[in-house]
């Protein structure tokens, strides 16, 4: 079989945000790069069944709502109707396919070799690629052995299944939830994290009655209570039923629906729904592809152990994205990808970011970077906190979207900005400035003394900084 072995320079398993960006950057840094992807399209979860399609459905939901209700502005409309097949076609063809084919072109442009197949590791030095998907490239069924100089693991994550809710036709994961053929009448979502809550809002906008069953006392628990309460009120206004402290127990699929049983304090309740989507979390893809045959060490959570550069316990094997510690977010994968690409190219790159921003596309949007007030307290860091409401912002008022606030967290002694949170209109756009502030370790005074244009949604950031330096303006 020796003549069957191909030798490669840098091999990357997975073409998600981690894999494809590592490929591009490594190629730019002079590496010969091969990406192995088992799916038919590149882009991983994010582009195919994650970040991107979810935002398309959220957009469609907003547009339907806006078409229905603009009475505030003196606008009345007769029945607004959605043809969801058309919505899905737009999402699949004009959004997802456009982005995935764009990434494929980028890989080509950077002379990255793309192999369609499933990678199995043999040991620290070699792997085999097995045929998968329709675009098979291999002649021999036994797989192609590849010896690599550097290997970057970017295999991502997959939905967790819970007991009593085996994925099927009516019990679905987030991928199923993104690809429903019609807007369900009754839609049960188990797990009110950001994925579940974003889709709850979208489907409520699209006309479904949505029930969120959340095991903990609060939905979207990675955001602070004062932020989430605004989103919760909005969801309830959309007609979403939010049930917290609820234990999902059991599901019973039928031809045209599913019976979902949950318990609160041991008392069972049953809901009849068209679909039940389970979004309780994701697990890293570190099993089932021979990783155990290498010397790569895993944590007890099944994540790959890496150093500040992304290097695993094996010198020439690296790992990035959802399979390593930290928030499972696409932009974290991007950053780690660039770091690893640098590291294998002898650059002194490091994952030395101070804060990873996180966004949740609810109504209004949620965004955070760096530490929160609660985290500061927990860590015993003395901070000053300033909060400026969008109610005091002319732009938000002129958009009839003046709910929410900006919160800035600064070191008490030095004024260095340690974190910021935004709930309100444009939060996803605005958080970048705070990411710059936190990651470049700016001072509250720097933001207060930087002109923010009027009337814009960015002004509350400057206003919060004004508060921090002791001279509030519009409050």
């Amino acid at each position: 079989m020796a003549e069957n072995v191909i030798e490669k320079d840098t091999v990357i398993i997975g073409s998600g945000p981690g894999g494809y960006v590592a490929a591009i950057r490594a190629s730019e840094l002079g590496q010969n790069v091969t990406v192995i992807e088992k799916s038919d399209t590149v882009g991983g979860v994010c582009l195919n069944v994650g970040c991107v399609p979810s935002k398309a459905l959220i957009t469609a939901g907003h547009r339907l709502q806006q078409a229905k209700d603009s009475a505030t502005y003196g606008i009345t409309t007769s029945d607004a109707v959605i043809d969801f097949a058309k919505t899905q076609a737009w999402k699949d063809e004009k959004v997802v396919a456009r982005m995935t084919s764009g990434v494929e072109m980028l890989l080509k442009k950077h002379h990255v070799e793309l192999i369609n197949g499933e990678a199995y590791l043999d040991n620290d030095k070699q792997l085999r690629v097995m045929p998968s998907g329709p675009r098979q490239f291999m002649d021999n069924g036994g797989g192609q052995t590849i010896k690599f100089k550097n290997l970057i693991l970017a295999t991502g994550s997959r939905p967790i299944e819970i007991r009593g809710f085996k994925f099927g036709t009516r019990v679905i994961d987030s991928t199923g939830g993104l690809n429903l053929p019609a807007v369900p009448k009754e839609f049960v979502i188990i797990g009110g994290g950001y994925v579940g809550t974003e889709l709850a809002g979208a489907y409520a906008d699209l006309g479904a009655h949505v029930t969120i069953l959340e095991g903990s006392p609060q939905i979207i628990p990675n955001f602070e209570k004062d932020m989430v309460s605004i989103v919760k009120k909005n969801l309830e206004k959309k007609g979403v039923t939010i049930i917290t402290n609820a234990m999902a127990k059991n599901s019973e699929e039928s031809d045209d629906g599913v019976k979902v049983t949950y318990e609160i304090d041991g008392k069972p309740t049953t809901i009849d729904a068209d679909y039940c989507m389970v979004t309780v979390g994701r697990r890293p893809n570190t099993d089932n592809f021979g990783l155990e045959l290498t010397n790569v060490k895993l944590t007890d959570k099944g994540l790959v152990e890496v150093d500040k550069q992304g290097r695993t316990s094996v010198d020439n094997i690296w790992a990035i994205g959802d399979i390593v510690a930290g928030p499972a977010l696409a932009h974290k994968a991007f950053f780690e990808a660039k770091t690893v690409a640098g590291a294998i190219s002898d650059k002194n790159t490091e994952n030395d970011y101070i804060g990873v921003p996180a966004v949740c596309f609810t109504d209004p949007e949620l965004a955070t970077v760096g530490i929160t007030q609660t985290e500061a307290k927990d860590k015993g860091i003395e901070v000053n906190v300033a909060k400026f409401p969008f109610a005091g912002n002319a732009r938000a008022v002129s958009l009839d979207a003046a709910e929410g606030f900006v919160k800035l967290i600064a070191d008490k002694e030095t004024g260095t900005l340690l974190g910021g949170q935004i709930v309100g209109p444009g939060a996803s756009d605005l958080i970048s400035e705070l990411s710059v502030a936190v990651n470049c370790q700016l001072n509250a005074e720097d933001i207060a003394l930087t002109i923010h244009p009027h009337p814009t949604l960015g002004e509350p950031i400057q206003e919060a900084a004004d508060i921090l330096i002791g001279y509030p303006t519009h409050i």
């Binding site: 004024g415 700016l442 001072n443 005074e445 720097d446 003394l449 930087t450």
Partner: protein
């Protein structure tokens, strides 16, 4: 020269540092920056005041 703390092409400093320079009466164009890309920090101003050697003349 006059201590203005104004922004100009001769040095790089954040707004808070420019304000600090004015408060301390320090001419930023004389301060040796320690930041990677030539950014002057508050500490640079302090060490300038403490008598650190002034930046080599900018005039070429």
């Amino acid at each position: 020269s006059q201590a203005t703390g104004s922004a100009n092409d001769n040095y790089l400093a954040m707004p808070s540092v420019r304000q600090y320079a004015r408060d301390e009466g320090v001419d930023l164009s004389l301060v040796t920056p320690s930041g990677k890309h030539g950014q002057i920090s508050k500490e640079d101003i302090d060490s300038y005041k403490a008598g650190a050697p002034a930046k080599a003349s900018k005039t070429e």
